[in-house]
Subunit: 348 residues, 2 copies
DNA sequence: CTGAAAGCGCTTACAG
DNA sequence: CTGAAAGCGCTTACAG
């Protein structure tokens, strides 16, 4: 159980107790096969007796590692990220790495700074979930040799050539719209993501393209602005409701907007899907429990997290040279269309 | 910008460049007032030239600190925690500490282990948001002198005497039920939290007590089991719907269950609040946007996070002796009742 | 298989 | 105000 002393037991205490050198204790821990069985047992006994646990700061200093990875995400309060985080945390924890989470919202576009520990490279790797960070902030982290490897997930910055884990946003949008087309819809609208988001264009283009390929057109007035928030979804509903030339179905760039949209419509006595069909994107937990339950594109969020984590671990094992020699992979994960109650044939 | 070398610049490089000792560089960084202005400027210039940033592992080793705090929470995927996390991250980041997040779900009751970095005290402090962790796992972290301080938030473990940040769950429940009483309800039910959760009893007792104090009784068949999940809310709705002796209002121990309850009822063509009123607890983002919007107890989640973080910082500044001498405070934060569409006078 | 020794990059009494 | 030196607790060639 460890004696009650004024400081934690160190490797020296263990060495004393076991009658060996600190080097041997260290080897027993990191490479047990290289020490004799007798020694090994003596050391393990001494470790138990003293209650020793390795001091990570010392190990990290010596090994020139940090034992930590940073996750940069735009909004900790957004439920979209929680499962991704979960997937990352799971893989990193298995790898013995700790996960530092940093909400990037405070550091808006005008703020160049990243969290201290990222800027100073006090992490061994970085996963970026925010495509709106400043490019220079992300790259000015010392010379290439000391810069921790980085991977993007979900969002990315086109100018920065790093591995990306994502879904085919355009193809997913095509699927969403084809579902509406197959129900008989011909007038299909879209609530967009934020204008400055990398995903916004591909989701809009996918939707537009799907319509064009069957000879239809998405009227500009059916394209509603949005910013991924519940609020912007209800704003879109107000516009929809106030217009005389309405789409019979609306494909939304994310679930939150879809739920905000449906909520506002329901409040205005507009029935979904009887009067208008709605499709979302993401498949938040709430999507299946909302009334009506939401037809949506299901992003494999835990898998995205796990994949990004594994990709990062892989890059961390490479030398800077290997990393820059090897092209940054782009992993595209499959999505599913979850068909639920919010879509039906058009009215009339 | 820093030269392009094979390793990051160290304090020695700066000392060289500035023509001073490493001690002076260190002082300039940690205690600028103590060095002369000329020296200070030379050092700052050298820092800029070399692109130096402090190596935290080295600093931490030397200062016998870790520069990190751990957050133990039961479920990263639960939106309830995201804003709390946000509040914690904000305060800790200002204090220059990094936040290690650990999902405790993988380590269920049968698993004694905490994350490595917690068990080995490779953190300077711990915030526990999970009242179901094993007591011994939380306490067996070496002798009192080396054990990192710990505070509880939202949930806690009664046997462990540590600061707690919480709301008055019983009083909040009284308020929720009084609201229903004031609308004229006399038959009020409750969907409970998980049986093994610290909050479950106080929320149920508050509800019961509020009824008793006006001479009413909560019938046992109106008390539905739950586990804080959407799913358990819809299960309760099925029981409610299948019964002939129904309450006219149901107070739910959390918003997710309330939303699951309403969702299932709506699906069964039972109108909320016309046929049954519903009150939740937490005030998730979704609560205001659901249809009908949810009357609920609003927990100040960001404030809970910030307060827990500040309390922990305070404890971290104390010696172990001071900590054990000073009684662990219990900070009770005020809640508000947000009255929305899901509550109305009883039918008939 | 094992130990002595150097060193990871800092900070901090101590002495001046 | 500043520097030389010790030391935080590890790991790892190196030598045997």
């Amino acid at each position: 159980m460890g004696k009650s002393g004024s400081k934690a037991p160190s490797i020296r205490d263990v060495a004393h107790a076991a009658g060996v050198s600190t080097a041997t204790v260290s080897r027993t821990l990191s490479n047990p096969d290289v020490v004799s069985e007798t020694t090994r047992e003596a050391v393990f006994l001494a470790i138990r007796e003293t209650g020793y646990t390795v001091n990570l700061a010392a190990r990290n200093l010596r090994k020139r590692e940090t034992g930590a990875v940073a996750i940069l995400l735009p909004n900790l309060a957004n439920p979209f990220f929680s499962r991704i985080l979960s997937g990352i945390a799971e893989v990193m924890s298995e790898a013995g790495l700790s996960v530092l989470i940093s909400d990037t919202t405070p550091m808006a576009k005008d703020d160049h700074r990243l969290p201290e520990y990222v800027n100073q490279n006090n992490v061994d790797g970085i996963i970026v979930l925010d495509g709106n960070l400043r490019q220079d902030a992300l790259l000015n982290r010392g010379s290439p040799e000391v810069r921790a490897p980085m991977v993007f997930a979900c969002e990315w910055i086109s100018q920065i050539d790093r591995p990306i884990v994502t879904v085919d946003n355009q193809e997913a949008s095509v699927r969403a719209v084809q579902h509406l087309l197959s129900l008989g819809h011909r007038r299909i609208g879209h609530i967009c993501g934020p204008p400055d988001n990398v995903l916004t264009a591909s989701r809009l283009e996918g939707a537009r393209g799907a319509m064009q390929s069957v000879g239809l057109r998405m009227k500009p007035e059916w394209i509603y602005p949005g910013d991924f928030s519940l609020q912007s979804g209800s704003e879109a509903a107000k516009i929809w409701h106030g217009s005389s030339d309405r789409p019979t179905a609306v494909y939304c760039a994310c679930d939150e907007m879809a739920l905000g949209f449906i909520g506002e419509l329901t409040r205005r006595k507009v029935a979904v899907p009887q009067e208008v069909s709605v499709v979302g994107f993401d498949d938040l937990d709430m999507a299946a429990h909302f009334v009506p339950s939401l037809t949506t594109i299901c992003q494999p969020r835990v898998t995205i997290g796990r994949t990004a984590a594994r990709l990062l671990l892989e890059r961390m094992r490479m030398t800077p040279q290997e990393r820059s020699a090897r092209p940054a992979p782009r992993v595209v994960l499959p999505v599913k269309l979850a068909v639920r109650e919010s879509t039906a044939p058009p009215p009339g």
